[in-house]
């Protein structure tokens, strides 16, 4: 069993076919897990005593919220690797993750609003988690905006990468300060994100959906990084072959 030379796949030309083989696997896993998760969430899990059927939104709200943070961490990690080791592929990976992460954040906010309305009466609740999600969305948008504003790809990768690292260091500080701010202004609002006391089917459903989300994010990120590789290396022979024009 020969040992895997990880740097072998650091070249876009070699990573492209590998990623191409991985995407269907992760995609299928995502679909299957979603089906199972939704089955548990919508059929098996019992109705909640306090929130009625509305609580079922947590089966998408919590997974997307978790993923929004996981993807940002992954994005910052890849950006850091790209800066330190000067590898193009790592930076491409960070760029590929950003839109998916932003999407997860948006969905967390959207589902959060739709959960808040029937439960607490308003479309928006200024609780710590939702407010932090909003700031996270701004961080994602900032990353993507900076990247697209710079024409030179190398400078764009490195500048946006530095921004991602600054963001990831700042994120705990922001989260902590928002929590502080929220507890100061408590008033009558209860902690919005207190999920109902978790019966096992509910927890199972949430975990399965979280895993499904994760598989989806990986699949889409890999698909997008293939696209980015082709876009950036479009004049090379391998890219032309891949696009079917060589």
């Amino acid at each position: 069993m020969k040992s895997i030379n990880w740097f072998h796949y650091a070249a876009p030309q070699r990573f492209y076919p590998l990623a191409g083989r991985l995407v269907p696997w992760f995609g299928t896993l995502a679909v299957v897990l979603t089906a199972i998760g939704l089955y548990i969430g919508l059929w098996v899990a019992p109705t909640d005593a306090q929130q009625g059927e509305a609580y079922r939104i947590i089966f998408v709200h919590v997974p997307t919220a978790w993923m929004s943070m996981v993807v940002y961490l992954a994005m910052a990690a890849w950006a850091a690797i790209g800066l330190v080791f000067n590898s193009r592929l790592s930076s491409m990976m960070a760029t590929a993750l950003a839109p998916t992460g932003a999407l997860m954040t948006f969905l967390a906010l959207w589902t959060g609003a739709l959960w808040g309305k029937p439960t607490w009466g308003t479309w928006w609740v200024w609780d710590a988690r939702l407010t932090s999600e909003l700031v996270l969305l701004f961080l994602y948008i900032g990353f993507m905006a900076l990247h697209s504003a710079i024409d030179d790809t190398r400078r764009a990768d490195r500048a946006a990468g530095l921004l991602a690292i600054v963001g990831v260091v700042n994120l705990p500080i922001i989260y902590f300060s928002v929590q502080w701010w929220n507890t100061l202004h408590q008033g009558a609002s209860v902690t919005f994100t207190e999920a109902p006391s978790m019966a096992t089917p509910m927890l199972m459903g949430m975990l399965v959906m979280a895993l499904a989300c994760w598989m989806y994010c990986i699949a889409v990120a890999l698909a997008r990084v293939r696209l980015i590789m082709l876009e950036r290396e479009r004049h090379t022979v391998w890219a032309r072959q891949a696009l079917g024009t060589a």
């Binding site: 700031v135 701004f138 961080l139 948008i141 900032g142 905006a145 900076l146 504003a149 710079i150 190398r154 400078r155 490195r158 500048a159 530095l162 921004l163 600054v166 963001g167 700042n170 500080i173 922001i174 902590f176 300060s177 928002v178 502080w180 701010w181 100061l184």
Partner: protein, 239 residues
């Protein structure tokens, strides 16, 4: 009459003590800022205008305004401090000074700190000192105004320091000021929360020690980290 005096002495070629570079850049930038008073004053006027707009938007009821005052002043300070920062490095980029600074044998973070310090003394400090007058508009009590002033004194350097990172990352880009604010504002939200929160806590009769220690911690953290990150960002932008 707008003379960007390029004949101001740059840091000497050989290091003569680590403070030398800082002092040189600081004095140079401060001198330039004082000669271009319009730029510094524009930030202050912007600050005053934004604060004055809020009562026009929400109505003149004194109780409401008193509650809003810390938040309004702080948000306006956020905007007034970060927007002009976009040009922190722009002039030096244009006349080639920035390149010289990058090539200098002095540690770049110190030189950057010098520029930020000069910018703060030239533009932001005036803004901070004007804030008590604005607090009058909102009928804020004297002691609360004092707390507000202190929070701004401790917090505004953080705004300048973090803003410099944004300015360095967006150096020479078309989007310019707006993009830079877009990047910087999420990062300074903790300062806003603790700064405005301190004043509100004081008005409510609670202690402000916690807020100030956190603001102080943020200041120390950014004093150490921001010049380093800004230097890295400058090198990235200038490649």
């Amino acid at each position: 009459m707008n003379t960007h005096v390029a004949t101001q002495p740059l840091p000497p070629a050989a290091p003569q003590g680590w403070l030398e570079g800082f002092r040189c850049v600081f004095q140079r930038d401060l001198r330039i800022a004082l000669r271009r008073r319009t730029d510094s004053l524009a930030a202050v006027v912007f600050f005053v205008m934004v604060v004055s707009l809020f009562p026009l938007g929400v109505g003149p009821e004194p109780a409401l305004l008193r509650t809003m005052a810390p938040g309004v002043v702080w948000v306006a300070a956020l905007l007034a401090c970060t927007l002009p920062l976009a040009r922190l490095f722009a002039d030096d980029l244009q006349d080639g000074t920035l390149e010289q600074l990058l090539l200098s044998s002095h540690p770049l973070p110190l030189l950057v700190l010098g520029k930020i310090a000069a910018h703060w003394c030239g533009s932001v400090l005036l803004l901070v000192l004007v804030s008590p007058l604005l607090a009058l508009q909102f009928d804020l009590s004297a002691s609360s105004t004092g707390v507000l002033l202190l929070t701004l004194l401790v917090g505004s350097p953080v705004l300048s320091l973090v803003g410099a990172i944004g300015a360095a990352l967006t150096l020479g880009l078309r989007g310019g000021g707006v993009l830079m604010s877009l990047l910087t504002l999420p990062l300074v939200i903790p300062v806003l929360i603790f700064g405005a929160g301190a004043v509100e806590a004081h008005t409510a009769g609670l202690g402000v020690a916690g807020h100030f220690s956190l603001l102080g911690a943020l200041l120390l953290l950014s004093l150490f980290a921001a010049p380093l990150v800004t230097s890295a960002a400058l090198r990235i932008s200038m490649e």
